[in-house]
C-alpha cells in the first residue's frame, strides 16, 4: 500500500516533468523564443536585452536545466502583461475551474449511473431505447454547440437562467450541463454494459438460485461489481472533462484556468501559457491518483503490491 502510493506519487512527478519539458520546448517551436516573449514591434535593443536577461544565448541544456531549477523553486516566470508571477495568476483561477469540473462530474455521476442501471435492468424496453438514444446524442453533440443551444433556449428564449458570469448557484447550472453531458452519456453507456455483464455472471445466477430477492441480487451483488468499470471510465474521462471545461469557460465567461489560458494566448502572454500547461497536467495527474485510491476502496482484489 505504501509502496503503491510512493510509486503513484512518483508518476505524478514524471508527468509534471513531462509537462515542464513540453512547456520549455514550446518556446523554441516557433524558432526564436524572443518572438513569443516580446511584441512584434519591439526594438532590437529590447530584444537583445531580453535575450541576455533570459540567457537565450546559452546552450539549450543549460537553459533547460535552469528552467527546471526555477520551476522547482516555484518560479514559473512572470506574466508579460501584468508582471505578476505566472503561477499565482494561474492558481488564482483554479477554484472556478475545480468548481465547474466538479459540478460537471457530479452531474454526470448522478444522472449517468442511474440511467445506465435503468437501461440494463429494463433491457429491451422503451426505457432502454430512450436512454441509449439520448446517450448517443449526448456523445455526438460538441460541447461548444451544446453550450450555445443552452444559452439560446434557457437564457435568451425562456430567460430562466443567466448565460454568463460566476458567483451564484444559478450561474453554475448551464455550464455544468454543458461540461457534464458528454461524460454523462459515456458513463450511462458503460454502466449499462457493465451491469448487463454482471447480471450474466455465475455469482448472480448462484445468488438467484439460492432464492435471494431480485432487489438484493441487483443492488447488493451486481451493482457493486459493476461499479469498478465505471470508476475506470470516470478516470479515463477526466481529461475530456477538463478539456470541455476549457471551452465551456470561454462560452460562459467563467473565470477559470481555461478561459485564462485562452486569454493569455490571445494576448501573447507566453509565460502564463507555459504555467497553465504545467498546472493543468499536475491537476489531472492528482485527480487520477484520487481515482486509483477509489479503486482500493471499491475492489478488495486490488492490492497494488
Amino acid at each position: 500500500m505504501i509502496a503503491f502510493l510512493v510509486r503513484r506519487l512518483l508518476l505524478v512527478g514524471v508527468v509534471a516533468w513531462g509537462a515542464a519539458t513540453l512547456a520549455f520546448f514550446l518556446l523554441y517551436l516557433s524558432g526564436d523564443p524572443v518572438d513569443l516573449l516580446l511584441p512584434l514591434d519591439a526594438s532590437p535593443e529590447a530584444r537583445a536585452e531580453l535575450r541576455r536577461a533570459y540567457g537565450f544565448d546559452d546552450p539549450l541544456y543549460v537553459q533547460y536545466g535552469r528552467y527546471l531549477w526555477k520551476l522547482l523553486h516555484g518560479d514559473f516566470g512572470v506574466s508579460l502583461r501584468s508582471q505578476e508571477p505566472a503561477l499565482g495568476l494561474v492558481l488564482g483561477r483554479m477554484p472556478a475551474t475545480l468548481e465547474l469540473a466538479g459540478a460537471g462530474l457530479l452531474f454526470a455521476l448522478l444522472l449517468g449511473i442511474p440511467a445506465g442501471v435503468l437501461a440494463a435492468l429494463k433491457k429491451g424496453t422503451l426505457a432502454e431505447l430512450l436512454v441509449m438514444t439520448l446517450a448517443l446524442l449526448g456523445q455526438s453533440i460538441p460541447v461548444y454547440f451544446l453550450g450555445l443551444v443552452l444559452i439560446m433556449v434557457f437564457g435568451l428564449k425562456l430567460h430562466w437562467l443567466p448565460i454568463s458570469g460566476y458567483g451564484t448557484l444559478r450561474h453554475l447550472v448551464l455550464p455544468t450541463i454543458t461540461v457534464g453531458t458528454f461524460v454523462t452519456a459515456s458513463i450511462a453507456r458503460l454502466t449499462r454494459n457493465g451491469v448487463l455483464q454482471e447480471l450474466r455472471s455465475d455469482y448472480v445466477r448462484t445468488a438467484r438460485a439460492k432464492g435471494l430477492t431480485e432487489r438484493v441480487v441487483v443492488y447488493k451483488h451486481a451493482l457493486r461489481n459493476a461499479a469498478i468499470p465505471v470508476v475506470t471510465i470516470v478516470g479515463l474521462q477526466l481529461g475530456t472533462l477538463l478539456s470541455g471545461a476549457v471551452i465551456t469557460e470561454t462560452i460562459f465567461a467563467w473565470p477559470g484556468m481555461g478561459r485564462f489560458v485562452l486569454l493569455a494566448v490571445e494576448q501573447g502572454d507566453f509565460p502564463v501559457v507555459q504555467a497553465s500547461v504545467i498546472v493543468f497536467a499536475l491537476l489531472l495527474a492528482l485527480v487520477n491518483l484520487a481515482v486509483d485510491l477509489a479503486y482500493l476502496w471499491l475492489d478488495p482484489r486490488v492490492r497494488y503490491a
Partner: protein
Amino acid sequence: MHRRLLKNPAAVAGMLILLAFVLAALLAPYLAPADPTAQDLAARLKPPGAEGHLLGTDRLGRDILSRLIYGARLSLLVSVTSVLIGLALGLPLGLVSGYAGGRLDDFLMRLGDIQLSLPFIVLVIAVMAALGPSLTNTILVLGVTSWVVYARVVRGSVLSLKEQEFALAARAIGASTPRILLRHLLPSALPPLIVVATLELARIIVSEAALSFLGLSGVPPEIPSWGQMLADGREVLYFGGWWVATFPGVAISLVVLGINLFGDALAEVLDPRSR
C-alpha cells in the same frame, strides 16, 4: 461482413449520413445554391426561408446553406489528413513497441501516458500558440498528437498476437522480423485499428471546429469552416440570429453521430467476441 453491416439499421443510418457528408464535400460547387463567400449587405441576417436563402444568411449576408456545404470540405480534408498522419506515426510505433518490448516499449508508452495526462485541448492550444495558427499547423498538430491512440491499439493487438501459434510458427521457419510484423501480425491487428481510426475522424472534426470556434485554427477567412460559422453565430446570438450558429452545430453533431453509429456497428462486426 458487408451484409451484416447492411442488416444493422444504426449502421445504415450512419453510412447514409457519412455518404451525404462526403458527397457534399466532393460536389460542393454543384450543390451549393450560391457562392459561399459572396457578401450581400442588403440581405444581412435573413432568417431561414428568406427568398433565395433556404437556411438564411449570416452577418455579412452570406448564404448559410452554401457555406455549410463548402464547410464539409474543410472538415473532410482536416479529418482525413490528420488521421492519416496519426496512423503513419502510431501504426509503426505500435508494431515495434509491442513486438520488441523492453526499454523502447517502456519509453514510448510512458511518453504516451505523459501526453495523455494533459487535457487534449490545453495541449493543442499551447502548441498552436507557439507555432502560430495556420491550417497546416492545425492538421499537423491534430495528426501528430493522435499517434498515441493508434500506437496503443496496435501494441495491444501485437502483444496478444505475437505469442500465438501462427506467429511463433512464422518465426520458427525463419521469417524475418519485418515479414512477421507486416505479413503475419499486421493483418490481424487491423480490425480494431480501423474502428479506432473511424472514431478518430469524429474527434478530429470536433477538435478542428473547436479550434476554429476559439479562433486558433488559422483557417483563412475565405474558406468556409463549420467552427468559424459557429463562432460567427455566437456573436449574433444576442440579436436573435439563432440560425447562424444552429445549422453548423447541427451539421457537426450529425456527422459525429454518423461516425459513432457506423463505428460502433463496425466494432461489433469486426470483433467476433461481441457477436
